[in-house]
């Protein structure tokens, strides 16, 4: 299972320290993808991402876990931080949107 955590950083106006805030968590397991978190709607489940190794567009239908690993290549602006990890099965942290390419 591939877990992708999306976060953003804001400055604390008092301490002027960076605060990391959760945006969404994407879990890809087999053909299934779930996206949860306070801004789950910011993550596009139908986004095609260019795989730098093949220069091909990759969608969820090409393999949910492969697509999940490519998420950092889709967001280059710097205001979304993306961490991809391979994990054992976990439950989504909150109510989530589920997407499946299984027939």
């Amino acid at each position: 299972m591939i877990q992708v955590n999306f976060t953003t950083f804001e400055r604390d106006p008092d301490t002027r320290e960076w605060i990391e805030l959760p945006v969404a968590q994407l879990l890809a397991d087999g053909d299934d993808v779930s996206i949860s978190g306070p801004h789950a709607d910011w993550i596009n489940p139908d986004l095609a991402i260019v795989d730098p190794e093949t220069a091909q567009r990759v969608t969820r239908a090409d393999g949910a876990e492969r697509w999940a690993r490519l998420q950092p290549f889709a967001y280059r602006s710097g205001d979304l931080n993306i961490k991809v990890t391979e994990v054992a099965a976990v439950e989504p942290v909150a109510a989530s949107f589920h997407y499946s390419t299984a027939g």
Binding site: H39, V50, A74, G78
Partner: protein
């Protein structure tokens, strides 16, 4: 491919606008945000002394494989970030208001692009449905040959649109396009025809042998491609189609 002269030309031109002066002149405050996105283009989130949040993308931090997949080079993405803003600023309103300001500046000894944080959130379709925002965004993306304008690459704050991430732009003929959502939306709305201010902007661009500076800021083949697109748009009287670079 050496882009030193293009970088020098951009640096010589920037700083005239008030927002640019802040981005060039203010010191960085504190440390960058402890970003946790390994493996992609290196981007540092920073605060300027005046409180503005900015993003620094060093030339040395480009993900080369990804850049080449888009037929960019190992250095053009930060340059193109800055040139997109230079073009928007040269064309003036309304394009200047919808593109995130960007300059070339070094941070911690690394030269790169420095973009101002846009307000708002991603993935809101509202600006694609509103001609006030969709028309200029589509015109701009068509002109700059934007290769990856998906719904994560703009911000909408409920009142205004800001286009972000112009690293993969100024494409050459035959280059890859992943998304150009505003171009697609404008065609889908049957609004591809150029309006008067768009014709005037293209005419102004082409009337200047220096392409309003773009001929110095871009590699020569990409500057010629920009002029070719502008001429084609004028000839047809409408924006180009998706991926028509």
């Amino acid at each position: 491919m050496n882009i030193d002269s293009q970088i020098a030309a951009v640096k010589a031109a920037q700083g005239a606008l008030p927002g640019e002066r802040h981005m060039l002149g203010e010191a960085f405050f504190g440390s960058p945000a402890p970003t946790s996105s390994p493996g992609m283009n290196t981007t540092m989130q920073l605060e300027l002394a005046g409180g503005a949040i900015v993003f620094h993308k060093p030339f040395s931090g480009v993900d080369v494989a990804n850049a080449i997949a888009f037929r960019q080079t190992d250095e053009t993405p930060p340059l193109h970030e800055a040139v997109a803003w230079r073009l928007a600023a040269a064309l003036g309103s309304p394009w200047q208001e919808i593109v995130a300001p960007c300059v070339l500046r070094d941070y911690a000894g690394e030269d790169g692009s420095l973009s101002l944080q846009a307000s708002g959130w991603p993935r809101d379709a509202a600006p694609t449905l509103n001609p006030t925002w969709c028309l200029p965004a589509a015109f701009f993306d068509s002109l700059i040959a934007q290769q990856d304008r998906h719904d994560g690459n703009w911000r909408w704050n409920g009142e205004r649109l800001t286009l972000i991430d112009h690293g993969y732009a100024f494409a050459l003929s035959g280059a890859f396009v992943n998304y150009s959502d505003f171009v697609v939306a404008r065609h889908a709305h049957g609004a591809a025809a150029l309006c008067t201010e768009e014709r005037d902007a293209l005419t102004r661009l082409l009337a200047d042998a220096d392409l309003l500076g773009m001929a110095r800021f871009l590699l020569s083949d990409r500057a010629r491609a920009l002029a070719d697109r502008a001429r084609l748009m004028l000839q047809r009287g409408e924006i180009l189609h998706l991926g028509e670079f």
